[in-house]
């Protein structure tokens, strides 16, 4: 998998996600679930996926409840399974393509280096800001500020938003200075370990595109749409 060019991994991943979005039949969405979960052990992702369920399941349960109330039980099940498929595929893509590779791919398709670097850096800082938020929550709870999810506590969440915003601004200013001190804006940068699309990449991308086109036409015609 790692031998493939990141652009190939991204393209295959996005086509798979698009196929799930295009799915209309319940039987297909169940088949997709079996295929998607079945592929996880082959990619060595079963344990991290199980850990990620703690984030996926609450959203899925919410979608299921809203679907049941608004539509029907069948429709709610369909929407919930499709959401699990989508989230799992996105999880696989982000596990198998690093942030750096996403940035490099963006640069290769013509985005300016500065833009693609800032894009990937911001993704990298999400966990850090998450840690900061956890620290702020602890600090405010230690002051007796009630942050439990209650309607009456909504004004208290200002105690999270203000420090997080202030710290984000300070961090972005320091980051800009550190990047500049290491030559971020200098013209004529070289790129080591350049990405190259090989024959296997081209074949895989062509195959995936063909399969996707076939799947969409079969799914749309088969469902009577």
């Amino acid at each position: 998998m790692k031998r493939l060019d990141p652009r190939t991994r991204l393209a295959v991943g996005f086509l798979a996600i698009a196929a799930v979005v295009a799915t209309r039949r319940s039987s297909t969405v169940v088949a997709e679930l079996i295929a998607v979960v079945g592929i996880l052990p082959l990619l060595g992702l079963i344990r991290p996926w199980i850990s990620s369920l703690k984030f996926m399941l609450p959203v899925t349960v919410l979608v299921f409840l809203v679907g049941t109330i608004s539509f029907s039980l069948g429709e709610a099940l369909f929407l919930s399974i499709r959401l699990v498929n989508l989230l799992t595929l996105s999880f696989v893509v982000f596990q198998k393509v690093t942030v750096k590779e996403i940035g490099e791919s963006a640069r290769k398709i013509g985005l300016p280096y500065g833009f693609s670097f800032i894009l990937t850096s911001s993704m990298r800082y999400v966990p850090l800001l998450g840690d900061r938020l956890a620290g702020i929550m602890d600090a405010q709870r230690s002051r007796g500020i009630d942050l439990r999810p209650r309607l009456r506590n909504i004004p208290n969440f200002l105690a999270l938003a203000v420090p997080l915003l202030v710290q984000s601004f300070v961090l972005s200013e320091q980051l800009a200075m550190a990047m500049e001190a290491r030559g971020f804006s200098i013209k004529g940068r070289t790129f080591r370990k350049l990405m190259r699309l090989g024959p296997v990449d081209w074949i895989l991308m062509a195959l995936s595109t063909g399969l996707f086109a076939l799947f969409v036409s079969w799914e749309v015609l088969g469902s009577g749409g």
């Binding site: 850090l128 230690s142 002051r143 990047m179 001190a181 200098i186 940068r189």
Partner: protein, 483 residues
């Protein structure tokens, strides 16, 4: 090598001059300690030396700054890459790549070097600093000491003549500090000019060849470290702690906090193993340990932010796990390491009132008391975000004490603080001791703990490995004490 002639500087939009009439010559091979209290202008001077002023920060720069005879105003920021390397205080901002290897390659790619040369330099520097084993790791997920080494490596790859490090020892425990000290001495011995910007003076002053002391934007001393003592004291960089009085309150009283067989595991690692300890009423207890020893995790159990996975924590006989976190705040108040995590009001006064309103005390009287105790009287109407680091920390601790908790917990109260703050904080702790306030202090600052605590326990890898009264020495459990 670098010559500053009558240099003054003020930031964009500010009336106040941060640097005033600075004359300084930095020679090749210097090992220079640039020190001063918070707000003395030392970091700003580092920005001038590294070209960030005027090329990135703008503002108004007067006088001449020359690198090897070339006026730095006529150079561009790229000219500084292979001349001056600056390592920032905040590692989270300095390390912005996905892996240690990418971090080291970033500047080399910016210089437009060929792939083979980039690989060669990375290997050479990684070997020199002993970080080869962490090349594929994320710089965000290594220890504090390792982060510093990666930051140094990322700059050292560019092979600069001058290396400037802004407060490299802050956040490091004694072991990380000792390793860094060795690295810096080695770099200087290999012929590189090293400038350390510091506000805490440990053993490193014994290694440097020259000491420059700043106060209010001016250089007040420039000479050999042996002659600097008088000026260091004048700038209050060597804290003079008040003499410790015998604590009559804590004697044989019942414990206010009692921890029994506390165990905590996170992901695949045991953080705390069977911790048992007592905190007696009215005493100041220091929980010591290196970074990652489990000190903060233990502190988080004291007010219920974390629930015991095994064992129990009791405060005044009541199980902490039976209480909700907002209720526990009135019993055990924790002031965390980063004071900015707490501030969300417009003024210091409002921040303090948040706590006072939970204690039921008379706001005006309590504000008066806290203002007096923490020296905040003149700052009440200022924004907490615009205070100096020391003032922020004092406000943060005062806002916790405002709740009048039975136990006050201070998490790393001295990190990033200068000698002036340490003196003030030691006086505050002495006053709290006289009032019978129970204090638990989590720290790796052994000198401060020695000066202020009645008793200490030492954690290592989540276990209590030692303890004693203030009269006992830490040396039995500490190797390489101060950086």
């Amino acid at each position: 090598m670098i010559k500053l002639n009558n240099v003054s500087y003020r930031y964009k939009g500010c009336r106040e001059w941060v640097l005033r009439d600075i004359d300084l010559r930095i020679e090749e091979g210097d090992f220079l300690l640039l020190c001063g209290g918070s707000g003395s202008g030392k970091s700003t001077l580092a920005y001038v030396l590294s070209g960030l002023i005027p090329h990135f920060l703008g503002g108004e720069l007067k006088g001449e700054v020359a690198f090897q005879g070339i006026d730095t105003a006529s150079m561009s920021i790229s000219d500084f890459l292979s001349r001056v390397g600056l390592i920032f205080q905040n590692s989270d901002a300095q390390l912005f790549n996905g892996t240690v290897e990418e971090e080291m390659a970033f500047g080399l790619e910016a210089m437009g070097l060929a792939e083979a040369e980039i690989e060669r330099r990375i290997k050479e520097v990684a070997h020199a600093l002993g970080i080869e084993s962490m090349m594929d790791r994320s710089p965000m997920h290594v220890s504090g000491g390792e982060k510093r080494l990666v930051a140094i490596a990322s700059v050292l790859c560019l092979n600069p003549h001058v290396l400037i490090l802004d407060e490299p020892f802050s956040n490091l425990d004694w072991a990380g500090g000792a390793r860094l000290r060795q690295v810096l001495v080695g770099l200087n011995r290999s012929g590189r000019t090293v400038i350390l910007v510091e506000q805490r003076l440990g053993q490193i002053i014994k290694d440097v060849s020259r000491c420059v002391i700043m106060e209010n934007g001016r250089i007040i001393f420039d000479g050999p470290p042996v002659s600097s003592r008088h000026y260091l004291e004048k700038a209050r960089l060597l804290p003079q702690y008040p003499p410790k009085t015998h604590n009559t309150q804590s004697g044989e009283t019942l414990p206010v906090v009692s921890v029994r067989n506390l165990y905590h595991r996170k992901i695949d690692r045991d953080i705390l193993h069977d911790i048992s300890m007592d905190v007696r009423r009215g005493e100041i207890l220091a929980i010591l340990g290196k970074n990652g020893a489990g000190k903060t995790t233990l502190a988080r159990h004291l007010n219920g932010l974390l629930k015991p996975q095994r064992g129990e924590v009791r405060v005044d006989g009541v199980r902490v796990s039976q209480k909700k976190s907002p209720e526990m705040a009135k019993w055990v108040g924790i002031s965390f390491q980063n004071p900015s995590d707490q501030f969300f009001k417009n003024t210091v006064r409002e921040e303090l009132v948040v706590g006072i309103s939970r204690s039921g005390a008379n706001p005006e009287k309590r504000l008066e008391e806290l203002g007096e105790l923490f020296g905040l009287k003149d700052l009440m109407d200022r924004s907490p975000h615009l205070l100096s680091e020391g003032q922020k920390k004092r406000t943060a601790v005062a806002s916790i004490l405002a709740m009048d908790p039975r136990v006050l917990v201070l998490d790393e109260p001295t990190i990033g603080q200068d000698g002036r703050f340490l003196e003030t904080m030691a006086r505050v702790l002495a006053a709290l001791r006289r009032k019978g306030q129970t204090v638990v202090m989590v720290t790796h600052d052994l000198e401060f703990a020695r000066a202020t605590a009645d008793r200490w326990i030492m954690l290592d890898e989540g276990r209590v490995v030692g303890g004693g009264s203030a009269a006992d020495d830490f040396k039995a459990v500490v190797v390489n004490e101060t950086p």
